[in-house]
């Protein structure tokens, strides 16, 4: 089977990923803001005996180097292996998009233009004559809609057609004097019988005249370069003279704009634009001078309220379900060790984590709505002034929001920041945005220590104070480690779009599936491990001592007190107990007992493990107390309020999990910064938890 590699290239937010999904049935991430895709991804489909491999690339505004994600695309275009480019264009913003198309056409590669969002264009009264356009520029242009999948099949056929036929040169017409200068260079190359495998001679001439580094690098090693040089100088000289300007960038821009306006005049007809007005009308409220920020805060507050209160109900069911399961299994199994492994290890650990699935689902639905409606860019707009004061860039908002889901994609999303320092700074404080995996810890503690109607507010408070701490940390880092120039803030504001239910469902479904999978594999193993090292080695001397003592006692109350004491003593002598006792001094000033200390450490593997560890440890030590069966109740009775708050503060700040730290190291490309991150987060977490504990104890 023939394999055709297609590079999907276009400006940000034009629907490249959506188009790849529509063509191949893949599930690439889609969002309504610039910079959703930050890493190249592939999707495959087969058509007419050929296999088409689509390479979805980050969007880029122009081929000039800008941010790290755009560089991914440019590098791929210049160095990667592919057969043709599919330039995805937003039909509702044709003139701007065509500025990139021309640059792509100048690369001299096989190309197809996909005029995407045709459904929106029709609604907005925008008509594009695709046939005329194809004729003028010599490249097939196909109107498609990723949303309705209309014409997607035609696009596939065009791709096949172009890939099977020899390359047709794109027809860009420059002004006469530029054409003349180009022709001279081409004639020279032709006369010398020069041929490059990568580009044809006209493309080389354009690249040389436009002073593209890559093309120079290509030609520089050729022996004929010496002879070429004077011709080139002459050509440039005449272009500068005629254009009355001495900067090639400006010449290029004027040439391109002229061609694009000419082209648009021929093929684009706009009747009316109601939809456009709708977006402006919504913006009048959502980014209103006075209302904008309060509305934003209200929406966030609402999200956390819902996360807690809506999640509460199914959470209760899941908790009861696991409780019932534990009892049933406990009653049927004879072997004490086996029973404890199943009930105190697996069910307490995995159940403790799965219980929070509803909360996780609501949180991710909220984030998905933020990402797909177009509100994200508005929030960045509203917060830029505020962020700027703390030395952050408005665009930092986007990776920071992803950070509420998971730090791993958030570190990658920071690529959209152009300036290296802005990017590193943002990455340093992403950890302050509590990720979804920490949500279970917060819900557990908020539920245990606060009234039900307050818990939602507490949850919101935790997230907000985390974010505020992050901003303060940013300020500190900005004036110390990451001094530097302010980066300009220029950002596209996409129109509002209603996300399809299918898309939202998919996001929530896939996140939930991932969570369940993690609970069933990683958390399961971790719980078994924790159970094992907190049960063995068995200490028979203590066991016997207490058993004889308990037998001597009369009252049941005294018995249960002693029974609990026995369990505590036993656990302290296990491997984990010994480890816990060793690290306890570090955490003692924060009011943590050894179990909390161990849970904190285990959270480094994954934040959900904190909950499963607490689940295992507290259920192991608590076999007698029948009334306080739920983990929440046990925790409320065993942990003091100041310690609990200090624990929340610590979890809020300290290092995101190991996986995230590895991604940080990869994205920052520096071990030094990774070490800083580890030290920075641990020290801050410890100090602030200490302050919290001390203040609350004094009160």
């Amino acid at each position: 089977m023939k394999k055709i590699i297609v590079a999907l290239v276009g400006q940000p937010n034009v629907g490249k990923s959506y188009l790849a999904n529509a063509m191949s049935g893949s599930n690439l991430k889609i969002g309504n803001f610039a910079g959703v895709t930050v890493e190249k991804a592939t999707a495959k489909l087969s058509a007419n005996e050929s296999e088409i491999e689509l390479i979805d690339l980050p969007g880029l505004y122009s081929l000039e180097d800008f941010s790290a994600d755009e560089k991914v695309t440019k590098d791929f275009l210049l160095k990667g292996e592919y057969d043709l480019i599919v330039n995805v264009v937003d039909s509702t913003n044709l003139d701007r998009n065509l500025m990139l198309s021309i640059q792509l056409m100048e690369l001299g590669k096989k190309m197809v233009i996909a005029l995407n969002m045709d459904d929106e264009a029709i609604k907005e009264g925008i008509m594009i004559d695709a046939e005329a356009m194809s004729k003028i520029i010599g490249i097939p242009c196909v109107k498609v809609s990723s949303k309705t999948k209309s014409n997607v099949e035609t696009l596939v056929q065009s791709i096949l057609h172009v890939s099977e036929h020899p390359q047709q040169n794109a027809k860009i017409v420059y002004t006469d004097h530029v054409e003349e200068a180009l022709q001279k260079i081409v004639t020279f190359l032709d006369d010398k019988h020069f041929k490059s495998p990568r580009m044809d001679n006209r493309a080389i001439a354009i690249g040389l005249l436009w002073q593209k580094k890559e093309v120079y690098a290509l030609m520089h090693d050729e022996p004929l370069y010496v002879e070429l040089h004077p011709h080139l100088n002459q050509a440039l000289g005449s272009v500068y003279m005629y254009c009355e300007c001495d900067e090639i960038e400006e010449v290029i821009h004027t040439q391109h704009s002229a061609f694009v306006s000419g082209l648009c005049a021929e093929v684009l007809h706009v009747k009316h634009s109601k939809i456009h007005n709708l977006t402006q009308a919504i913006d009048k409220v959502l980014i209103h001078k006075l209302l904008g920020l309060p509305l934003f805060i209200f929406l966030m507050w609402g999200l956390f309220q819902l996360t807690f209160s809506l999640g509460e109900v199914p959470m209760g069911w899941i908790e009861e379900g696991f409780g019932w399961l534990g009892e049933t299994i406990g009653a049927t199994i004879e072997n004490e060790g086996m029973k404890s492994l199943l009930v105190d290890g697996i069910i307490a650990g995995v159940g403790g984590v799965l219980m929070f699935l509803p909360n996780i689902m609501i949180l991710f639905l909220g984030i998905a709505l933020l990402e797909t409606t177009g509100y994200m860019a508005r929030a960045a707009f509203l917060l830029d002034g505020f962020f700027h004061k703390f030395g952050l860039h408005g665009k930092s908002f986007i990776p920071l929001v992803s950070g509420f889901g998971c730090s791993v994609p958030a570190y990658m999303a920071a690529r959209t920041l152009k300036n290296k320092k802005d990017r590193l700074l943002t990455m340093f404080i992403i950890g302050f945005m509590s990720c979804g995996a920490r949500l279970p810890v917060y819900v557990l503690f908020a539920g245990a220590f606060f009234e039900e109607d307050m818990a939602g507010n507490v949850l919101f408070g935790i997230y907000i104070s985390g974010a505020l701490l992050g901003l303060m940390a940013a300020k500190v880092l900005r004036v110390t480690a990451f001094k530097g120039e302010d980066e300009p803030f220029v950002m596209e504001m996409p129109k509002y779009r209603l996300p399809s239910l299918k898309l939202l469902w998919y996001v929530v479904y896939s996140k939930s599936a991932m969570y369940i999978k993690k609970a069933g594999t990683f958390i399961l193993l971790a719980s078994m491990l924790i159970w094992f090292i907190s049960t063995y080695p068995k200490n028979s001397i203590i066991e016997e001592q207490y058993t004889t003592q308990i037998e001597l006692l009369q009252s049941d109350d005294d018995k249960s007190v002693l029974e609990n004491e026995k369990n505590e003593k036993l656990m302290e002598r296990t491997y984990l107990g010994m480890l816990g006792k060793t690290i306890e001094p570090i955490f003692a000033p924060l009011g943590f007992d050894w179990k909390m200390s161990v849970a904190t450490l285990s959270g480094l593997a994954a934040k959900e493990v904190i909950v499963s560890t607490l689940g295992v440890l507290y259920s192991l030590g608590d076999e007698v107390d029948e009334e306080n069966s739920s983990l929440r109740e046990i925790i409320a009775s065993k942990i003091g309020f100041p310690s609990a708050m200090a624990f929340i503060v610590f979890v809020m700040i300290y290092l995101p999990c190991l996986a995230a730290t590895v991604v940080f190291a990869r994205e920052a490309q520096s071990l030094k910064y990774t070490a800083y991150l580890v030290i920075f987060t641990f020290v801050t977490a410890w100090v602030l938890a200490f302050v919290t504990y001390t203040v609350l104890t004094l009160l």
Partner: protein, 75 residues
């Protein structure tokens, strides 16, 4: 007059952009270039950031960047 002084909802035409090459390029690729007609649609409370309407789309800018864009009022 530069863009930072333009009142809301007034249509103006860009006559010059005095910014570094990188910023100029970025602005141009978002459709903000000499000769284009734009409108300030929205500003934040302290007027730190403005929303600019160009053609059918809109772009957010900081006031600092707006200062480098010279405009004249369209008649």
């Amino acid at each position: 007059m530069n863009l930072s002084h333009v009142p809301k909802d007034t249509k103006v035409k860009i006559v010059a952009i005095q910014a570094q090459a990188v910023l100029k390029k970025r602005l141009a690729s978002l459709g903000v270039s000499v000769g284009k007609e734009v409108k300030v649609l929205e500003t934040t409370i302290q007027k730190n950031t403005i929303k600019l309407g160009i053609g059918l789309g809109s772009v957010a800018l900081r006031l600092d960047e707006a200062k480098s864009i010279d405009v004249e009022v369209c008649v």
